[in-house]
């Protein structure tokens, strides 16, 4: 369980809060997509959850721990994959030897399997890898740690095309009911099929926090040469017609959630909440 209560954070020297009066609760067993425009505070949120930043106000609680206490028992339960990775120029073997003892659930087998699927050999030297390969090696290690909480900031950036698909498989393989995975991303098409839950935020807080199942019940999404006559709440011209989002009526079939449409709807709508309306 991850819970934030009225959390604000302001970077030193900044005139405004990066996160303001932010509250959310996440139960375990979920893969959560964290979406927000550039500068919306997504990375800041991940740093607050992992104890890298201390909230200016409010409380953060992760599985009973206050992350800022940086209790070793807490740190062994959480892994953060930052957007830009800085790993030492040593062999992967030395890296694993140095870092895996911190993570009691670390599995050598999961690591080998992930490396194999990422097309990396276990005897690589981290200093000789390309940016994308470094990311793959780090992701493989992160997934193999089997921490109850795994936070990933733009994990698919820099991955090649087969790498993205292997990444999705590896996430599903290491997922279980005790685990919470939060993935912050702009690459919604890389990840949408993995998500249970979507959180859309801006600097003023959470703008949407819903399960995919609830979104499928509430809205339908489609592409059509001509817009439907009723119920359309968002649309955008595309080649050959329109992409649209509309309120679903109970007799209508559910559709797949179009996260890009949902995101644009949330960011362009007037300040009313469709879930309260």
């Amino acid at each position: 369980m991850i819970s934030l209560k009225n959390v604000s954070y302001r970077y030193t020297g900044s005139k405004r809060n990066s996160i303001a009066d932010f509250s959310m609760e996440l139960s375990s067993g979920k893969i959560v997509g964290l979406l927000g425009a550039n500068g919306a505070g997504k990375s800041t949120l991940l740093y607050l959850i992992s104890g890298l930043l201390r909230p200016t106000a409010g409380d953060v609680n992760v599985n009973g721990y206050n992350p800022w206490d940086r209790n070793p028992a807490f740190l062994s339960q959480i892994f953060l994959v930052p957007e830009e990775i800085d790993i030492p120029s040593i062999s992967l073997e030395s890296f694993v030897k140095a870092y895996s003892p911190f993570y009691p659930n670390f599995s050598e087998e999961s690591l080998k399997e992930a490396l194999f699927h990422f097309n990396l050999s276990p005897d690589i030297h981290l200093g000789s890898l390309s940016m994308g390969q470094k990311k793959k090696a780090f992701l493989a290690f992160a997934l193999a740690c089997h921490t109850p909480v795994l936070l990933m900031d733009e994990p698919t950036n820099g991955l090649d095309i087969p790498g993205k698909s292997e990444f999705r498989k590896a996430v599903v393989k290491t997922m279980n009911d005790e685990r919470t995975i939060i993935i912050s991303t702009h690459q919604v098409r890389d990840l949408d099929q993995l998500l249970d839950h979507v959180t859309i935020m801006d600097n003023n807080g959470i703008q949407l926090d819903e399960s995919i199942a609830a979104l499928q019940e509430k809205f339908t999404f489609g592409l059509a040469p001509v817009l439907p006559e009723t119920g359309v709440i968002w649309s955008e011209p595309i080649m050959g017609g329109y992409a649209y989002m509309k309120m679903r009526t109970p007799d209508q079939q559910e559709t797949e959630v179009n996260l890009e449409a949902l995101f644009n709807y949330i960011y362009t709508r007037k300040p009313i909440n469709a879930f309260q309306a």
């Binding site: 599903v172 999404f221 595309i238 050959g240 559709t255 797949e256």
Partner: protein, 122 residues
């Protein structure tokens, strides 16, 4: 091009399993992959795959043997054919028929076309 298949992933997964049963890839009374194996191979959330299996179980296409996994039912093929025919003649035929009507195609013409199609497939 407008891609019209906006059905949820769980519906498409269920459909895909039905295809495999019709193609005899999964045979009656044989075990199909587990929810987790299926989720991994299709790179989808395990809960989404579980939803697809639930639909198929409700429709009587697969059944659960406790501790052993999911198996194709004895009548799976008949059930799938019946359900697919219902969808085809129901919602899916709507657009086709409305276009035929606009083009004033007579029922006889349509019958001949279908007969011709069948003989060309032989």
């Amino acid at each position: 091009m407008i891609q019209t298949d906006n059905r949820p992933i769980y519906v498409r997964l269920a459909d895909q399993i039905c295809d495999r049963i019709l193609l005899d890839e999964y045979r009656k009374l044989e075990r199909i992959p587990s929810v987790r194996e299926y989720a991994v191979s299709q790179q989808v959330n395990p809960a989404t795959a579980a939803r697809a299996f639930e639909i198929l179980e409700r429709q009587g296409v697969i059944f659960n043997k406790r501790g052993l996994g999911f198996f194709v039912t004895e009548d799976a093929v008949d059930i799938i054919r019946k359900l697919r025919l219902e969808t085809l003649l129901g919602e899916e035929s709507e657009l086709f028929f409305s276009r035929l009507a606009v083009l004033e195609v007579s029922p006889e013409q349509l019958r001949d076309m279908y007969a011709q199609y069948l003989s060309s497939k032989k």
